[in-house]
């Protein structure tokens, strides 16, 4: 199985979820993260104290899919998350060796 990790802009979450669901991916896990990259942050000033805020709010989506579905899933995410503007984010694919569905004990592809 493959773990697709995508860092996207927060307001794109709903579209990405819909795209994945449309393809039949029924599970995913989402984390609020902060990202640093080419997209530059901003400065905040609080009564004279200036803070450069380098990290921007992003959403991390993790979805584990069977090996064969990896490209399809990655493409769907890329398509839905793209605005063409800097800071759209990244997709990383890595391997998962073993999966368990806690409720039933099913494993691997059956557990997705």
């Amino acid at each position: 199985m493959k773990l697709i990790t995508a860092i996207i802009k927060p307001f794109k979450l709903e579209e990405v979820r819909a795209a994945l669901t449309d393809l039949g991916f029924q599970g995913m896990t989402v984390t609020e993260v902060k990202g640093y990259g080419r997209q530059k942050g901003h400065t905040e000033i609080y009564r004279g104290a200036e803070y450069a805020v380098n990290f921007l709010p992003k959403i991390k989506i993790e979805v584990v899919v069977s090996d064969g579905d990896a490209d399809k899933a990655a493409d769907a995410i890329a398509g839905a998350a793209k605005t063409g503007q800097i800071g759209d984010g990244k997709i990383f694919v890595s391997s998962i060796e073993h999966t368990v569905r806690i409720r039933t004990g099913e494993t691997d592809d059956n557990a997705l």
Binding site: F11, E14, H42, E44, Y46
Partner: protein, 489 residues
């Protein structure tokens, strides 16, 4: 005999008016203020400020997304600051002095910069021979001038430029609010009328003729809606309908929020909204009872009405939602409370407690329908339901006042300052006539404020642009307009 009081003054019954040419100053010299009244009006003034900051700011702020929290707090707070300066510079004068040939519509500049006001100056109340310190009256009315434009911002929260809003508020206050306040609230006061009426009673022959002319002049020295006999105890037209329609117009001119109905826009902190609603309720006692200007039984009645109408409306909205959506929500409950507060505002010194409960129940249900059904059906984006609550609730209250004020329905009726000069006695009450008058006042307010606000919004849009870039709106107004975030860790 049921005690009665006209807030908007001279009963519609034209019979009470006579003709004459003698004019008295708006705030005739009068006995010294009672300390109890001074203490009372001090409290009332403080309470109305509390309604606005932090009350209204939190009520609204809790309902937006956290990225726009500060923008809302800032708008309300800055408007409060700006309006209070404008108020003492020329607003009070435009609202509460005679306006010469324009007197029907707006006052003059005699008291600009509070010229001539001293700690000894006093103003009339609604009882003969009772006055309060003018500085206190100015401060009390100032809080009304602060909260009214602040109410508007909820309608287009999360999508307006701060500078543009400030400019709008200055223009709106000058061209809509001060004139409206003058039209509804300016009059010569009970002693001026009483003194003139006394002269009529004492004179005979030609002198009587002259005295009658003088009395009529005194009575004519009032704003237009006041002269119509529109009842508005604490500001249903001037404050709520006025702000509600301005908000709706603003929401339409500015357009919907980016992502409206596609993205989640759930309130970021209903806790804050609840605090705000509670403080609005608490402070509204100052607003309504304070509008009596005197610490007496009518003030107590206004307090009682403000209490039970609010409670009834809150429960009504909650129950309507429970039936309709399956669950009673806190936001529904507190929205209902505000709807009730709005609706009871014009009626608070005229209705009886049972009439107020009915008014509350009705306004709770109608505003619920306006904010859920109607708004969704029409599809406009009044972010925080300024029109659905203040506009609609204000209209329900203004019209309903004609009914609940009727002595037949437990109300106090209206006062006649002429029949027994120097004393206010119950005047004749005509429900149908009053209904017509109230409706007319509502329509005038809707048109004046609606059209006026539209023009002002357009003007501001042309000059500085009302709306931030889409990208900035996405990022949130806190960062893009103010360079801050509400919450850090």
């Amino acid at each position: 005999m049921s005690r009665a009081l006209t807030r908007l003054g001279v009963p519609a019954a034209g019979a009470l008016l006579a003709l004459g040419t003698f004019a008295l100053p708006a705030f005739a010299a009068a006995p010294v203020p009672a300390k109890g009244d001074t203490a009372f009006m001090f409290t009332a003034t403080v309470l109305v400020l509390l309604m606005t900051i932090p009350g209204l700011a939190l009520f609204y702020g809790g309902l937006v997304r956290s990225k726009n929290m500060l923008s809302v707090l800032m708008q309300v707070f800055a408007i409060t600051c700006m309006m209070s300066i404008i108020w003492v510079v020329y607003g009070y004068s435009l609202a509460f002095t005679g306006g010469g040939s324009l007197n029907d519509w707006v006052g003059g500049l005699d008291k600009a910069f509070l010229r001539g006001v001293t700690p000894e100056s006093t103003v009339a109340t609604f009882s003969n021979g009772v006055v309060v310190p003018e500085y206190l009256y100015i401060a009390f009315q100032m809080t009304f001038a602060c909260i009214t434009p602040a109410l508007i911002v909820g309608a287009f929260a999360e999508r307006v430029k701060f500078g543009a809003l400030m400019l709008f508020v200055i223009l709106w206050a000058t061209f809509i609010y001060f004139p409206m306040a003058h039209m509804v609230w300016y009059w010569a006061g009970p002693d001026a009328i009483g003194d003139a009426a006394k002269k009529v009673a004492e004179a005979s022959g030609d002198a009587k003729k002259a005295a009658e002319v003088a009395l009529a002049a005194v009575q004519a020295d009032a704003g237009m809606l006041f002269k119509w006999g529109a009842l508005d105890f604490a500001g249903g037209t001037v404050v709520h309908i006025n702000a509600g329609i301005a908000g709706l117009v603003g929401a339409l001119v500015i357009g919907r929020r980016v992502g409206y109905r596609r993205e989640q826009m759930a309130p970021h902190s209903l806790t804050m909204t609840m605090i705000g609603a509670a403080l609005l309720w608490v402070g509204w006692f100052g607003f309504n009872a304070g509008s009596n200007l005197e610490a007496n039984g009518t003030a107590a009645l206004a307090m009682m009405n403000t209490f039970v109408a609010t409670a009834a409306a809150a429960l009504a909205w909650m129950l309507a939602e429970w039936l309709e959506k399956g669950k009673p929500s806190l936001l529904g409950l507190v929205s209902g409370a505000i709807a009730g507060l709005v609706a009871v505002t014009p009626a608070s010194g005229f209705a009886g407690p049972m009439g107020s409960i009915v008014l509350g129940l009705v306004s709770g249900v109608i505003c619920f329908i306006a904010c859920t059904g109607v708004k969704n059906a029409l599809g406009y984006d009044d972010s925080l339901d300024v029109f659905g609550v203040h506009g609609v609730g204000g209209i329900v209250g203004a019209i309903g006042t004609a009914i609940v004020a009727a002595p037949a329905f437990g109300g106090t009726g209206i006062l006649d300052y002429v029949a027994k000069p120097g004393e206010a006695v119950a005047g004749a009450y005509d429900i149908m006539g009053q209904l017509a008058t109230q409706s007319k006042a509502v329509v005038v307010t809707l048109i004046l404020s609606g059209v006026g606000s539209f023009i002002i919004f357009k003007v501001v849009d042309v000059i500085v642009g009302l709306r931030p870039e889409e990208q900035a709106e996405r990022e949130g107004l806190d960062l893009t307009q103010h360079g801050e975030r509400a919450y850090n860790s």
